[in-house]
Amino acid sequence: MSKVHVQTTINGEAVEYLCEPQQSFLDVLREDLLKQGTKEGCATGDCGACSVLLDGRLVCACLMLGVEAEGRTLTTIEGIASDDGLHPIQQKFLEHAALQCGICTPGFIVATKALLDKNPNPDETTIRYWLAGNLCRCTGYDKIVRAVQAAAEELAQEA
């Protein structure tokens, strides 16, 4: 089976790769491009560990084909922090002990980024429903929700 040539943009950088037509974008990211901050928890779109932003929209990289990245703009967890340091969402996850094992954390941070880009002042219910596509088995979500609230406040002050 011949591979497909793809040109795309990941975290602001032009990237090209060859992938199998049936290969998921998650598989391309992790096994070929070695951008492994994006995690696989299920590969069926149920856990959100592979959350990435596709043209600013939150998607599961496991539900997207590698070929579908052609011409698009993607953001992964590696693209959240800036030259100035951690993004406030990352900083608040740390300060609020919102991670235990840390495997779901990149997905949560990307999903939170998508939420706060869209709705800078979400209430608790909105946060909980927005993040309902991201599974965490360690924290019971309490500290994650508080971290998101704190990040929203921080970003509002910065704005």
């Binding site: 149920d46 991670l99 993040l131 088995r137 979500y141």
Partner: protein
């Protein structure tokens, strides 16, 4: 004894040392390991729940282009039966047969062969070319039916252990545990009220978000290096050595960051297979389970049937209790019946009780440890019985528990008397808690339950090194599954008297640090923490000796205070205090670099008790349960890092609620799990839960230098019965079985 004292670092919640790497995607988990020239390994799994394997032929797969190795059960030389494999693993012969079937497939998804190929696509294609000839057998799926004399047998050589006389016929009952005291018949005669019931809990999975993964590489010398997701790399090395019949010294295990375990990563699945494939292929082999494989073929916890009868006087005094427990072992012996039997009545003063517990083979995956293994199942039954007694005698459920609560000096059901414990303190805190004194929301129900876990100690090693700038490096061997590096750094900072920011903790591989038992049993902060504290004390002793030599005074004339060696009061030495950096600056003159170490087999882990209460709203038309409020109160001994103690309590509460409300292994008649994915095996999501309020009780454990008990496991125990009791309160209907899922609740309401 460790008194409640003011600490400088302990009891604070700083950012964890490994945090930045985990919020930026830098942290390397097992599936993130990459080596040039790596092959992908995949496993062929049995499509039958119970079958004889007549033959396995991998030759066609091996002949395919891009396939470099293929193995089946016959290729695994080790795994003699009857030897203990390590914490959590059970009999090593069983572990060996669990990771690769020999003559029998014992559950749907049981590994029967494996391949290594240049791509995942080719590996999948190769699995399809392996010929396996099965002779299917009737699956044994129901734990009670499995115990019947006429049940089909999983293992014709299994004769029930621990019976007074060795049975003359094999059965599916692997072993029986009995625990008894006093005279239950007389006890029940003294009772004014007696309640009894039979309670069913389904098999449930730990549900860690990271699937099992590993990479193994075997070089031309026959030396293997393995990166893996493990709760205990030393024990993984030991098991792999026994299963492959390799020397321990030829195996190096490097623990990656671990994406959750909860007990499920205390035993091997992939590692021996990857080592063997790499040896045969001469290239590195990477193996990653799919989520479906995790559900079907790794160790969940036992489904169970518990029958409990409890008698009490009108004043609430429990006079007798009796329990009959049957736990699913899955395909091989090893259900946690010992802890289940010892835990069920542990929170209470009881003169008359009898527990009989059964470890039962069924055609389901071999169970593994899951957070307080065995306790949630049995204590669910007891805590429901107490709720029913409280209702019958018109007593507050917390008062009923207080009336019978164990305290220091109470003889535990398993024999010894409790040292200082904090159960009564938890109950009193619950009674006074604003969430408990607040009225129950209109239409909702409030449920109360208690939880308990023993906690364990076991073996740990730690080294502490001092850099020339006085910064501190801790090296220990327990994978950090929930922030334990932060706890180690806090205890070291406190002991040495240096800033938390100046301490770093590392998890060494099997060749860079001393042996540590698994991260499990809530032992890491307790036992490995104790080793870290002792290694720091070793450093302090060395610094005092170096300072004494520098100053020309006796060692007993030097004290350690606030991170410095100082002359003892009354010693008239005109000297400058020496910090760690000062000692290191002159270390070349006083004996070389500072290296502290400690190794121990810790005893004295303190039991941790909890009280939970939950407000639930039940939609009587749909059967859906909404969690309105949850309060967790637990004795942590001393909370080293309170935010991560709360994290354990909140995470355990969520897992317990998930098990109570939705999670279950659903099997069809052929023994095929029908919901092997996160869409249908529904763990709680953020919108299912409220904030989880925590109150940490601190009754210090006298056997730990800072009073640590261990907190990780107790939190999962109480939510099961608390939820069941809340549903009873909300609906007036007692539902004995879990999960309290919409169809089950509707069926119970309709039949009432």
């Amino acid at each position: 004894m460790a008194e409640a004292v003011d600490y400088k670092y302990i009891g604070t919640s700083p950012v964890r040392p490994d945090g930045v790497d985990k919020v930026t995607g830098r942290a390397q988990f097992a599936a993130d390991q990459n080596m040039p020239n790596t092959l992908y390994g995949k496993i062929l799994r049995s499509p039958h729940a119970h079958a004889n394997i007549k033959s396995v032929d991998v030759s066609k797969a091996l002949a395919m282009e891009g396939v470099y190795a293929a193995v089946s059960g016959a290729d695994f030389p080790g795994g003699a039966r009857g030897k203990v494999g390590g914490e959590g693993g059970g009999d090593i012969g069983d572990v060996a047969r669990n990771i690769m079937a020999r003559d029998k497939a014992l559950y749907h998804g049981h590994a029967v062969a494996a391949v290594a190929a240049t791509s995942l696509t080719i590996a999948d294609a190769a699995l399809a070319m392996i010929d396996v000839e099965y002779e299917t057998l009737a699956p044994v799926l129901d734990v009670v039916a499995a115990m019947a004399a006429d049940s089909p047998l999983l293992d014709a050589t299994n004769f029930t252990k621990n019976l007074p006389e060795t049975p003359d016929k094999p059965s599916n009952i692997a072993s029986v545990t009995v625990l008894t005291r006093g005279n239950v018949d007389e006890g029940f005669e003294q009772a004014d009220v007696t309640v009894e019931g039979e309670y069913h809990i389904p098999m449930a999975h730990q549900g860690y978000i990271e699937p099992h993964a590993c990479t193994a590489t075997v070089n031309e010398e026959g030396k293997a290096t393995v990166w893996c997701s493990t709760q205990g790399h030393f024990e993984f090395r030991s098991m792999t050595s026994k299963i492959l019949d390799w020397k321990v010294g030829d195996l190096k295990f490097i623990p990656a960051e671990i994406g959750g375990g909860f007990g499920g990563k205390t035993t091997v699945y992939l590692e021996p297979v990857a080592v063997l494939l790499s040896k045969l292929a001469g290239r590195p082999v990477k193996m990653m389970m799919s989520r479906e494989e995790v559900f079907r073929a790794t160790g969940p916890t036992s489904g169970s049937v518990c029958r409990v009868k409890v008698g009490a006087k009108k004043d609430g005094t429990i006079t007798a209790a009796k329990a009959w427990l049957a736990y699913e072992a899955g395909a091989f012996a090893g259900a946690p019946i010992g802890p289940g039997a010892m835990a069920i009545f542990a929170p209470y003063v009881l003169e008359n009780f009898h527990v009989e517990a059964h470890d039962v083979l069924v055609n389901k995956p071999k169970v593994a440890a899951y957070r307080a293994p065995g306790a949630p199942q049995s204590m669910h039954a007891m805590e429901i019985a107490l709720d029913d007694i409280a209702r019958e005698i018109g007593m507050d459920p917390l008062d009923l528990r207080l009336k019978n609560a164990a305290s220091e000096g109470t003889r535990a059901p398993y024999g010894p008397k409790f040292p200082a414990i904090g159960f009564k303190e938890c109950l009193e805190a619950a009674k006074a808690h604003p969430n408990y004194t607040a009225p129950v929301p209109e239409g909702a129900g409030r449920g109360v339950a208690a939880g308990f876990w023993f906690n364990i100690g076991m073996q740990s090693s730690a080294e502490v090194r001092i850099n020339e700038d006085g910064t501190v490096i801790i090296m220990e061997g327990n994978p950090d599954i929930g922030g334990s590096r932060a706890s180690m750094c806090l205890m070291a900072a406190e002991t040495l008297g240096v800033d938390y920011e100046r301490v770093k903790a590392y998890i060494g591989d099997t060749e860079s640090t001393g042996f540590c038992n698994v991260t499990g049993g809530s032992r890491t902060t307790f036992a490995t923490g104790m080793a870290v504290v002792q290694a720091c004390e070793d450093i302090i002793a060395q610094c005092k000796a170096r300072a004494a030599a520098t100053w020309g005074v006796d060692e007993d004339q030097v004290e350690w205070e606030d991170g410095q060696a100082i002359p003892a009061p009354g010693v008239n030495a005109d000297v400058t205090p020496m910090s760690l950096a000062d000692v290191m600056a002159s270390a070349h003159k006083t004996g070389g670099p500072l290296l502290g170490r400690a190794s121990l087999n810790a005893s004295g882990a303190g039991a941790s008790f909890s009280v939970n209460f939950v407000d639930l709203m039940v939609d009587k038309e749909t059967g859906k349960v909404d969690v309105l409020a949850f309060t967790a109160i637990q004795d942590a001994g001393t909370a080293i890092h309170p935010a991560y103690v709360e994290g354990q309590m909140q995470g355990g509460a969520a897992q317990g609620l998930g098990w109570a409300l939705n999670e279950e292994y659903i099997y069809d008649a052929d023994g095929v799990m029908e919901n092997a994915g996160f869409l249908d095996y529904r763990v709680p999501v953020a919108s299912d839960l409220p904030m989880i309020d925590c109150q940490i009780i601190e009754v210090p454990n006298p056997r730990h230098p800072y009073g640590v008990r261990g907190v990780g496991e107790t939190p999962i125990v109480a939510p099961l019965a608390a939820a069941a009791n809340a549903v009873r309160a909300a609906t007036g209907v007692r539902i004995n079985d879990l999960p309290l899922s919409p169809p089950n609740i509707l069926a119970a309401i309709d039949s009432d």
